[in-house]
Amino acid sequence: MVKNKENSEDLEFWATNSEEGGWNIASTDEGSQKMNEEESDQQLKIQTGSDVVDDYFVEEETSEDERMIVNMGPQHPSTHGVLRLQVELEGEAVRRVKPVIGYLHTGMEKTGEELTYLQGPTNTTRMDYLSPFFNELVFSLTTEKLLDIEVPARAQTIRILMTELNRVSSHLVALATGGMDIGALSMMIFGFRERELILNFFEKTTGLRMNHNYIRPGGVAADLPDDWQKDVKEILKVIPEKLKDYDEMLLDNPIWQGRLQNVGILTTEECLAYGITGPSIRAAGYGWDLRKMQPYSGIEKFDFNVPVLQESDVFARWRIKVLEILESLKIVEQAMNSMPKGPYKIQDKKVTPPPRKRLDESMEALIHHFKIYTEGFKVPEGEAYVAVESPRGELGCYIVSDGSSKPYRMHVRGPSFCNLQALPVVMADSPIADAVAAIASLDPVIGDVDR
């Protein structure tokens, strides 16, 4: 039997006063994670979301007696993972919010310091599991910047093709789960159905539906499969049709509009203060997109628009995702038509292992292959920060190299991590029923938050 010697005399230690003992009270004490009834002024400002601008207020007749602190999550379907929120309610209205994170923390940055640069994408791809290609891309771009190499044109275009398809699939999940949270259950089934098309193409190309480890430093792991144009054409044909269906179902739907318009306002000022980028800042009227402003991987050659909306509410954040899917499909089409011929890996023997068929005929190739996969390649000393536009905002990677074949420090700036800081802003002073819609509109992925 489990007993705590020091406290076994102390009856108050146990929740029940029976001799058998009960649940250890101390083990449920939450320390600093707890939302207290009394907080410091600054903390109150943060939790009520009025730290930057105090802009939104629902007038509702409530009394102090109706105040209570409740817990939402970590096991809650609408928190999109293991996010936990402590919420102070006053009747139906949310007054204060405190996000508690760390339930999915697996120490990926620490792991990243122990993997070689070639193994790195295997690790980073698991961070934001809905947009794995972006994680691989940002890690590879940072490594390539440190190595001072440029990948061949075909590899660049494959990267753009895959990442933009990934943006579509990621936004489709955001639309689907967002719809489910609000009660549009058909949206949930539709979104996942269309995403399946894209995932099938990913599986055909990379071998896996998620966590592909396809984009690697020096290029991509494999060439596109035979007949890949057929699959991409299918995607390009089906998804716009289905998007029209969504619009028919939701765009002019008075219930959908009533539920989402003027809910969860996140202004440009707040976006800037909290470091929020991506669809949220574009829905707040600021047309900031890294693909246009600081292009990567040759995306400046493609012709596309950056949709910007002014409303800065949940409806705008939902709408902008639909518009971005259409723009991404434009890029995919151009990438498909302009796919250059040539190698898909850099022809630099230091970085790229010899092709498989050379291993059977050449001893040197075998040694070379063995060296690259066991020791890895050495990266010159230095540091680099590269950012790409992931479906949730700026995804950055900061690598410090000490000249060995493993990163000395690898840090990933996940967009969901800082987007979560805006939860009090979008949730506070609105009815509890709108809180769920507000969380869904920020589209947090907990794997990206906790890393």
Partner: protein, 136 residues
């Protein structure tokens, strides 16, 4: 495209304030590097600022004094630094002065050690359970 600046700890807060007034509206990233036995002083805080209006980035580096391990917080300038500073405190044990709530963010409250320090081994650390009663 990205400029790196080295700043002293006592000038750090003021420097960030000037940059903020200079049009660097957004703090995109704040992290730290542990130069254990490689450099003196040991810890370096790295701040990444972004100016959307000028389309520029700036990287600020600050060396932390080994004795005090503290640096002023910039949450009063960039509210978004809140989570990042808590993360650095959690992972490296660097103390941010005047932070509204400097507590652990990813690890449990009563965790012993700071995981991203170089002298914190990985794979050999026993799992710590919160307030677990000892088994006789």
């Amino acid at each position: 495209m990205m400029e790196t600046q080295q700043v002293e700890v006592n000038e750090y807060h003021e420097h960030i304030k000037t940059l903020f007034d200079d049009g660097y509206e957004m703090m995109v990233d704040l992290t730290a590097v542990d130069w254990f036995r490689k450099k003196e002083p040991r810890f370096e805080v790295v701040v990444n600022l972004l100016s959307l209006s000028k389309n520029e980035r700036k990287m600020i580096k600050v060396n932390i004094d080994d004795e005090t391990l503290s640096i002023p917080s910039i949450t009063d300038i960039y509210p978004g630094a809140n989570f990042y500073e808590r993360e650095v405190y959690d992972m490296f044990g660097i103390i941010f002065e005047n932070h509204p709530e400097l507590t652990r963010i990813l690890m449990p409250d009563d965790w012993i050690g700071h995981p991203l320090r170089k002298d914190y081994g990985s794979g050999r650390i026993p799992v710590q359970f919160k307030n677990a009663p000892k088994v006789d």
